[in-house]
């Protein structure tokens, strides 16, 4: 029964949501609306689960003195400070200490972490981007046209050329036609895959989300 009841829940909820899409009757839509609110509550709990797991992992790391356990203390300590300011007794609003920490610590940390990629992509472009085949040449040519066409420099360099072959025009043509066509094909293929997988899950054919244990 430990697997049958969840499979039944999946089936019933899945069918009900499909019915809601096709049947505009008031009774169906009212119930579905309430069901969607339930969904947000359960998803919130699943995110809390993830945060709780993070705490557990770092706790174990400290207890077993694994490599880098000192940094785990930093992680848990700052979590405790944030939670002290923004927990059930606190506030998350603008002007609060919680908000100050988010804007002046999380924002710069996250922004800077991802901005490192600019350096690595430039380094990778020099070291790894090679003309090894005809297809790679096509990729390279498209990349160079788009990189120069999407910045004002491209417009400036080709400003005296005929409009049809100026870099920004070529870039837009690449984006609106071959790029659009390729991504449309990918979208349609992926949509088929998602629909098939969704049906398999609702019908109980695909059960991997339940885990391996009985």
């Amino acid at each position: 029964m430990r697997r049958e009841i969840p499979l039944a829940i999946t089936f019933l909820i899945g069918i009900f949501m499909l019915v809601d899409f096709f049947v505009p009757h008031h009774a169906v839509s009212t119930s579905a609306e309430e069901m969607k609110q339930w969904g947000t509550i359960v998803i919130a709990a699943s995110i809390l689960l993830g945060v709780g797991n993070l705490i557990r992992v770092h706790f174990h790391k400290i207890r077993r003195r694994r490599e880098g356990w000192g940094y785990s203390i930093v992680t848990l300590a700052i979590m405790a400070v944030m939670f002290a300011f923004g927990g059930p007794w606190g506030t998350v609003e603008e002007g609060s200490a919680f908000n100050w920490m988010f804007l002046n610590m999380q924002v710069p940390l996250q922004s800077t972490m991802f901005s490192l990629l600019a350096f690595f992509i430039a380094s990778a472009a020099y070291r790894a981007f090679r003309l090894r085949s005809a297809e790679a040449s096509l990729l390279l040519i498209a990349a160079i046209i788009v990189m120069l066409g999407r910045v004002p420099l491209g417009q400036y360099l080709t400003r005296s050329w005929p409009q049809a072959i100026q870099l920004p025009t070529l870039t837009e043509a690449i984006m609106a036609y071959p790029n659009m066509a390729a991504f449309r094909g990918i979208l349609m293929g992926a949509a088929l895959g998602v629909m098939a997988m969704g049906l398999r899950i609702i019908l109980g054919i695909e059960r991997s989300y339940l885990g391996g244990e009985k």
């Binding site: 609306e33 969904g39 924002v107 420099l153 991504f183």
Partner: protein
Amino acid sequence: MAKKRFDIRSVDRRIIFTLIFVAVAWPLIQPMRLPIDVSPPVQTLYDAIEEIPPGSIVMLGGDYSPDTMPELQPMVETFIRHAFENDLRVVVACLWPASPPLVERALTPLAEEYGKEYGTDFVNLGYMAGGIVTLLGMGASIPNTFPTDYGFGAADIPSRPVGEIPLMQEVENFDDIAFVMEVSAGTPGTREWIQQIQGRYRVNIGSGTTAVGAPNFYPYVSSGQLTGLLGGLKGAAEYETLVGFPGDATKGMDAQSIVHALVVVFILLGNVVYLISLRRNRGAEE
């Protein structure tokens, strides 16, 4: 001992990093002010918002995080400015937890500049967990999906039930929304808005996305599911140009130009070196 020859194939990557650093910093200190051309998807978005009657309610979907702020924050600021310029009322709803304070950062100076009042001219509904389930809930009832708002710190207005907010008396679902501007950095974002809301409720959706995601959305622009697309910092700069208030995106385009040119040089140089060494190796084998 023979002197080690400089091998361009194995340049220390820290030299490349330094060149990139200089290529970004220098144009910010000494701007070139290159003119910015406007692409059709941005023009389409701008024109669509211009056609909305004054007094209408528009929605801003803030679905981004601090790491994408440089690209998306200018879009949010420019959209809010555009809306306030045209006397449109703005409802903000976020599916990403980091978005509410970032959108508030954009709202605060613009509300003061245009004399707009929180609760009457604009409202920030804050964040709600759930992704596409939240979107579907909004399709049925926005007040039920966002029972309280985020508040507005600049005016010391705390979070309260949406039933107490004058603007929200006029908003039940997407029938009351003239246009949705979805600013998105990933999932849930533009794709989910199109899949769950645009087709079902026939509301016009325009999108601002990161440059990484923009190529994926051209099929939606072509099919008409998206009414306009701002792609990356350039898209934001084009939108600023159309609205007439150059901001951070416009200022960043010079640096963008120089770095792109530098990366193209790196790619070409790397391939020239590669082709020369291929030829040498073939010669050595023969």
